[in-house]
Symmetry: C2
Subunit: 239 residues, 2 copies
DNA sequence: TACCTTTATGTAAAATTTACAATATGCTCC
DNA sequence: GGAGCATATTGTAAATTTTACATAAAGGTA
């Protein structure tokens, strides 16, 4: 990039090209058995009543990477959530009437425990199952599809989902997390063998209580062990 | 995102926030035994004489994803090259005096065969070995580092490098491509066994000619076979 | 024909993957 | 206290894959 007063030959000399830039967030909500996406319904304007991904126009006095956190904070009250950029949509005609470039981020949170708030010009906010996304404005359906692919790839490289589980969790919870996000079914025996062998989980010696069946063992995540694996280029092959 | 006349509550009402947006390209050049990056030297302006990644400000009448191709075309004359977005840098203070958001793309091409041209306000253009990148302007060194990580990850999922090899190539060329890009050394016997077993290469039955040693067999890439693998979530584990 | 350089290849041991189903536990209800 | 219910937990044999490692083959050159 040549960001000084000398403009490139493809740009108009001495005239800085300005653009409208927004941030769109695919906020994935993990439940015990379903993966959902947070959608907002526009309050007014041309798109009144239509459903869309939560997002906002960027502000030039705020770091771009802080924007998705702000969106999330306004809709869920959550802070310090895992968020990652996965794409940028920049076709000239993706939005009618004006060219809007959007940075697409995904986040992964727990749908439980947090109360949704309307905000950001939204009349309504709701969780929708990933398999049942309605028609959204612009290219938002495509953004969700790509976001899910990015999430799945990420999960195979990093167990980002453990942060959504309690400090101590059962192997079944751990497996369901993978199954739900990756949208696959796993063989329990083989999955456990693999995870145990990798050593990223530690048996706490405790058992869950107050369950009306055999109490499962509780495990914790061994971050050190995992960091060791990641430095060697970790990729979880499960099908 | 709520891109209609109704602005979000975090934005100033009825005033569209505009931004300066650029594209920076980490153009990787593959040689027989080295991975290089294309750098340009600024012609004039505040950054005169300093080295940087090639890039340009975006134009609002051109699809964002077409920009890196245009940059590449101007510097190398190459068209239809593999290019992929891997990050967006958007900190407020990453560039002095004005906030510039940049979309970072990487490309992978062959340094041979193509003549570099100065262009885009560049006084000079050159290939620099990935291990010897000088201090660049702004956060360009960081962008290269991230671009290399993205390239390595991509190569493990897709054999993007084959397009840089001749239609018919030797297993040694194929192996060197992986070694150079991933910056590792591979065991020849094990690498060949793995690749052959995967079936993504076809023995053409021909041999290279005019070599002053045992003539190696020539192979071609089996795109169909690879597509089959990719649909099952391909990831090449080699160390 | 001897030599140089690079290609091509095998194998045994260890580790991993795969495909399967029966038993163990804790609680509830009678 | 025993039967029933629901989930947790676990093993194994076969097939496949990975790992570590060294020698012979081929083509050209001198």
């Amino acid at each position: 990039m040549l960001p000084d007063s000398n403009r490139s030959r493809t740009s108009v000399k001495n005239e800085v090209q300005l653009s409208t830039v927004s941030v769109d967030c695919v906020i994935f909500g993990l439940e015990a058995d379903a993966l959902k996406v947070l959608l907002v319904q526009h309050d007014s304007g041309v798109m009144e009543g239509q459903w869309a991904l939560p997002g906002d126009y960027i502000r030039n006095d705020i770091d771009l990477e802080k924007m998705p956190g702000m969106v999330l904070s306004q809709l869920t009250g959550l802070d310090n959530v895992f968020v990652e950029l996965f794409d940028v949509m920049g076709k000239v005609d993706r939005v009618s009437h004006q060219r809007v470039i959007t940075a697409a981020y995904f986040a992964l949170i727990n749908t439980e425990k947090y109360e949704l708030k309307t905000g950001l010009g939204a009349r309504d906010v709701k969780w929708v199952d990933i398999h049942n996304i309605p028609a959204l404005i612009y290219d938002h359906n495509e953004i969700i599809k790509r976001g899910h692919e990015a999430l799945k790839l990420k999960l195979r490289r990093e167990p980002i989902g453990v942060e959504l589980l309690p400090k101590l969790f059962t192997l079944t919870q751990f497996q369901r997390m993978y199954e739900t996000i990756l949208d696959i079914t796993l063989d329990t025996r083989n999955f456990r063998k693999k995870i145990i062998k990798e050593g990223i989980l530690q048996d706490s010696g405790q058992k869950e209580v107050n369950v009306p069946y055999r109490a499962p063992n509780l495990y914790s995540f061994d971050a050190e062990k995992y960091d060791e694996l990641r430095s060697q280029g970790y990729f979880l092959n499960i099908y």
